[in-house]
Amino acid sequence: MKVALSSKGQTIESQLEERFGRSPNFIIYDLGNDSYQAIDNTQILNSAQGAGIQAAENIVNTGVDALISGNVGPKAFRALQAAGIDIYLTRGTTVKKALDDFKKGKLSKAKSNNVDGHWF
């Protein structure tokens, strides 16, 4: 199973980024062999609109099954849900800690977006 985490930096010691669409990086963590890779999301971070949808596309293409982030907006939620990706929300933590919490089953699945879009 692979999990994507929004991250300020490119390592698992980084702070978990609270924003999903405009997260600078994503850590794609493979629970099967405890390895990870970082993907750069800067281009999407700077897009005028629709960042959440594009970021969703980005992580769907890496083949993850779940996402851990701080906030997910309505359009990103729709896109992730359509792709069958489970969303877990947590905040004020590091990527590593969020992963540990996830593995221990401490994070619960989000049933809807927790923040509104930026101009709706």
């Binding site: 609109q49 629709g50 949808i53 769907v60 896109a79 359509a82 792709a83 069958g84 879009g117 709706f120």
Partner: protein, 282 residues
Amino acid sequence: MQIAIASGKGGTGKTIVSSNLAYYLNKIGKSVALIDCDVEEPNNHIFYEPTWFADENVNRLVPQVDTIRCTGCEKCAEFCQFGAIVCLKGKVLTFPELCHSCAGCINICPTSALEKTSRKIGEVQLGLKDNLLIVQGMLRVGEAMSPPLIKEVKRHGIGKEIVIIDCPPGTSCPMIQAVKGSDFVLLVTEPTPFGLNDLKLAVETIRELGIPFALCLNRSTIGDEKVWDYCKIENIPIILEIPDDRQIAEAYSQGKLFLEVLPHYEKVFVELLTSLEEIKSC
């Protein structure tokens, strides 16, 4: 003749100029349409309280997916430059609020799985007051894209001798859509640092569009000299100056046309028209 009243900065006085200019032109017997393209906040009607005689919905084309025909080929998603249509794991999702209605996805789909549907973006309202045609757009609350509505609003001015377009502020798509096709642009600003900064942006935009323009300086007795200096260097004529007059502000705050309350200001509009004639003839 279509005259667009525009600005970079908001609150410089586009509406006060538009509403009073339309009033004056109508008074001297011209056939005038006042087109309020500030569709997020149309205010000209406040000064006229017109009799509304028509209200039309404005819709915009957006795609809808027929999931049976869709093969998940992703061609539509690759085509869309606005991220309004995505294909995730073979499932096509549309985001109408991001769609620019180009219909490219519909045309490109090899299995005709995308159909045209419409989405209401707002209304066009038409009113009359003493022969003056007043048209305004009302963008639906929550709608992000106003240019298609602005285009519809402007269509109703066709056929009038003089069309005054009150533009939305800024220098992005809504302002450009409002200004486009005009014979002349009157940029309104105030002699302040913000007024100057945004005037420069507006000047760059209008020059790019290649439309003749001049400046109206509102509250011309405040601020500093820098707007005048800039206009001198850039060779921009200042053809209307409205002083910072408390009585004008009072009339405005009561929803009254200042030309009606303070008729001695008519002479600045007479001069404005003379300047416009001169600019037109050269």
